[in-house]
Symmetry: C2
Subunit: 403 residues, 2 copies
Amino acid sequence: MPALNENYLKLEKNYLFINIAKRISKYITDHPESKSNIIRMGIGDVTLPLAPCVVEAVKRGAEEMGVKETFKGYEDSGTGYDFLKNAIAGYYSSFGADVKASEIRISDGAKSDCGNIVDIFGDSNTILITDPAYPVYVDSNLMSGRKIIYADCTKENGFCAAPDQSVHADIIYLCSPNNPTGAAFTFSQLKEWVDYALRNEAVIIYDAAYEAFITEDDVPRSIFCIEGARKCAIEICSLSKTAGFTGLRCGYTVIPEELSFRSSDGTEVFISQLWGRRQGSKFNGVSYPVQCGAAAVFTPEGREQIKVNLEYYKENARILSSALDELGIFYTGGKNSPYIWLECPDGMGSWEFFDYLLNNANVVGTPGAGFGKNGEGFFRLTSFGDREKTLEAAERLKKLLAK
Amino acid sequence: MPALNENYLKLEKNYLFINIAKRISKYITDHPESKSNIIRMGIGDVTLPLAPCVVEAVKRGAEEMGVKETFKGYEDSGTGYDFLKNAIAGYYSSFGADVKASEIRISDGAKSDCGNIVDIFGDSNTILITDPAYPVYVDSNLMSGRKIIYADCTKENGFCAAPDQSVHADIIYLCSPNNPTGAAFTFSQLKEWVDYALRNEAVIIYDAAYEAFITEDDVPRSIFCIEGARKCAIEICSLSKTAGFTGLRCGYTVIPEELSFRSSDGTEVFISQLWGRRQGSKFNGVSYPVQCGAAAVFTPEGREQIKVNLEYYKENARILSSALDELGIFYTGGKNSPYIWLECPDGMGSWEFFDYLLNNANVVGTPGAGFGKNGEGFFRLTSFGDREKTLEAAERLKKLLAK
């Protein structure tokens, strides 16, 4: 009989968003009249349609594939078409990050790369993950039975932990702007982590999926804006939130060509080669029309069009933030992030506040406890909703939570 | 310093198709006048464009995503849209295989699922792989340090090995119609493997990527046409060769709901749940417009349109086969498969014949040795080429190899 990967059996059974869906569904069964009144600000999914030039580019790509002369089969390299890698490298250089097109690999999304990147590392590593965090970092390491230690992100440090110099880690996950807290590292805070990684000879897996929401000048858009990062970091990025690609699926991962570590016999091994071997054996590249759509995002026209959507979401974030400001409720995020991470009022627990808000305001958010122990007592709202509903949710919050 | 997954360092460095590309490029440098004369029948990639109704469906999907009311973000289940899973289930029932829509998971291609499926099993398993075989089966297991044993496919058994009852395996990889040999199991041959798996309480990972090329009635299109398979098999399939999706990327994996094994403490664990946990954490579903294109393949119009392409490739296979018949060269495949697997004439080795054919006929194929030790002395040609070039290649073979 095949032995199973029993690490899977140790994973939490109740996935956060399934649990949320169940509670909403029970509420609707009990209060059918409220169904249309519920405002959902739980799952971090976008709601605005794809930019027109992205739609046109996908259609053009599909049309090319219907004609023998321009048909595209397997991609030669499987790493993404040059037209897209060059466009992304150009975007990096626009904000001063030093990334070559040849260091970029196109993927079907940040989740796949975040989950699969663990494959190239041994199982004996000590993994450092911030708490709270996106569950994929934790789960993908538990699935391979690795030791995880946590960096506590709390109200006291503004949900931006600094490295604890007394602790050693081999692999470090950082996400900035952060999911779920919306907090974002400044240049100097991120520099501390890069220095820590270099001192520990550790690798940082840097999730930059929310970089498009950065508004403040002292917040870096990429870890490669930080000196030394090319010797210790892998960056994973996505068009899901930047350009509404959650259903179209496209992301990219950057591994600097000089990033290397030593195998147990002392041989220098380049990480881009290991990752190339992994992807070469287990992945066959991203759909050509999708890559065409992704490249359109980086054209001047595309930049203009996605900016409209980003501004819409950012304004939603401002609406929610000012409601919380008015209420005097502590929160992080909202400024450089589509997420607002608020402290549950009156010392309520995360799930308690979830039920309170659902029952008394018909507003759905995400209980912070679902992202780790430091999330207990906190709550995530997203700004990816409809303007009208966001305004209405802000009003309901103000009414319900006013002292 | 992070420990690396050192199993990667034991993998073969020279990937087959890179090696082929290098030899062609050297030949062209030495004989620049031959460049346009070279006929490439090496890589198993299709050349005909996507069917018109697939192109239209992808475009329609893209358009829906450009309109707020019909925009698609994350898929709720991440397992594929019901419209596609229902279409595939309908296709299975058209040839009598018992597969429910809920047992199907849509993927970005067979390669990803073939590579990733190992994640849900422990590393202590004994893996049985036919030799020769598609390199992904071997590499994805070497990457996790598993013990592999081989079932020899040879000229004597028509490159269709029967199970060796004296050997135990936990996980068995079968591919039929086979890549690279083109050989296909009959119902009774496949039944032997299913019975062997049931007796050994093993799981079969069945790669059916080439089922659309089956022409003979006694060859099953799915392992789920075989009694007992639902208790021992996972089937991985793809639209890459069926409908020319090598660049569009879509496949599917079927795990019967009753397929289960026991964990070390005796608990019954359902394989579909383990795979769902793996995919739920490391994959976010397939692009919506691509799923629209995939569903079009299964409409009556789509079936008609892809049939034209399949017939074209099948006729190419007949052209190559009859050249070999005329020459009296032994081969398998060509009948139920786009691949023709021929014995190199005059006892030549695979790479020797590769060079001989390139130098003397400007025809490129794939050396059988690249697929395992039993591939030595054999050679793979594909029928995915242009009709004119296939006819020309057949003529060159006949001229060069005539006694």
